[in-house]
Amino acid sequence: MKLLRMKPGHGEIVLAEGDIEAPEQERELIEAFRRELDAGMWAAVPTGTPDGRREAELVKSFAEVPRDAERVIFFPRAAGGAPRATRSGH
């Protein structure tokens, strides 16, 4: 399992990587997971539905991460964007 974090100016970085079945590595993954949550990040696990659609699952603790998940992606928590009076194209 890999713990990834989105980072401005960089893209994702690997925070931790290990075999969840190995107790020592699992402990390291749990510690890294907690650090990110304590820093105010959201954690998501990309998953697939039985009908083949891709989606994600937000997890609030390491116990919620599916044991077979290949990666957990951390990203900054959502905040209501600052209202702007001007319109912008894209």
Partner: protein, 205 residues
């Protein structure tokens, strides 16, 4: 005699000082410059186009690995993602009652796929307050992925966290309508390339 020798020594020292002063000043200036260069900021700050480009490439690879091929092709070709609304539950193959358009660093736009009517703008951001390179802004494709993950995982929560506005507050409605037409055309040309095409928008121009 002693006075003459003393005076001569003082004159010699002053002359010597005047001779070496410019050299010393130059050496001091060079030393200061080298010292300030060595002490320069340890973390790179400011805008670096190369770094941002590499970050965006990584973000695109991550996005591509998370969404399905059809959605990736949509984002690659059109520059935005469509996500079906899930709060009005629908079965696969049925048309969703509403959908969202996800643009990088712009509000999420909710609309009715059947008519193309725009519903709301949901202004939401994912600022990284640690500002590793002086900016809290994620690469474009990371911003899209963050919105996609938050929407598909917990749509209700994301909508609650966002600032909701009527269409046109930040995103030009004319532009969104043109994008919906582009999406309709794009889906026509991609018929058969994805299973989800059964639910293609039935937009009325």
């Amino acid at each position: 005699m002693a006075l003459a020798l003393g005076t001569g020594a003082v004159i010699l020292v002053v002359l010597f000082w005047e001779l070496i002063r410019p050299t010393l000043k130059g050496a001091l200036a060079r030393g200061r410059l080298l010292w300030s260069l060595r002490r320069g900021p340890s973390a790179p700050t400011g805008y670096d186009p190369g770094r941002e480009r590499r970050a965006e490439q990584r973000a695109r690879a991550l996005l591509r690995s998370c969404i399905d091929d059809y959605d990736w092709a949509m984002y690659r070709d059109l520059g935005f993602l469509r996500v079906w609304g899930a709060l009005g539950k629908h079965e696969r193959g049925e048309e969703a009652t509403y959908a969202y358009l996800i643009y990088p660093h712009k509000p999420i736009v909710a609309y009715l796929p059947q008519t193309g009517a725009l519903l709301n703008e949901y202004c939401v951001a994912f600022p990284d307050l640690s500002r590793p390179y002086g900016s809290s802004r994620l690469p474009d494709s990371d911003d899209v992925l963050a919105k996609w993950m938050a929407l598909t995982a917990d749509e209700r929560r994301l909508v609650a966290d966002a600032n909701m506005h009527l269409p046109g507050r930040q995103v030009d409605p004319g532009r969104v309508r043109r994008d919906l037409l582009r999406l309709t055309r794009w889906e026509r040309t991609h018929v058969g390339t994805g299973e989800r095409l059964g639910r293609a928008d039935t937009l009325h121009a």
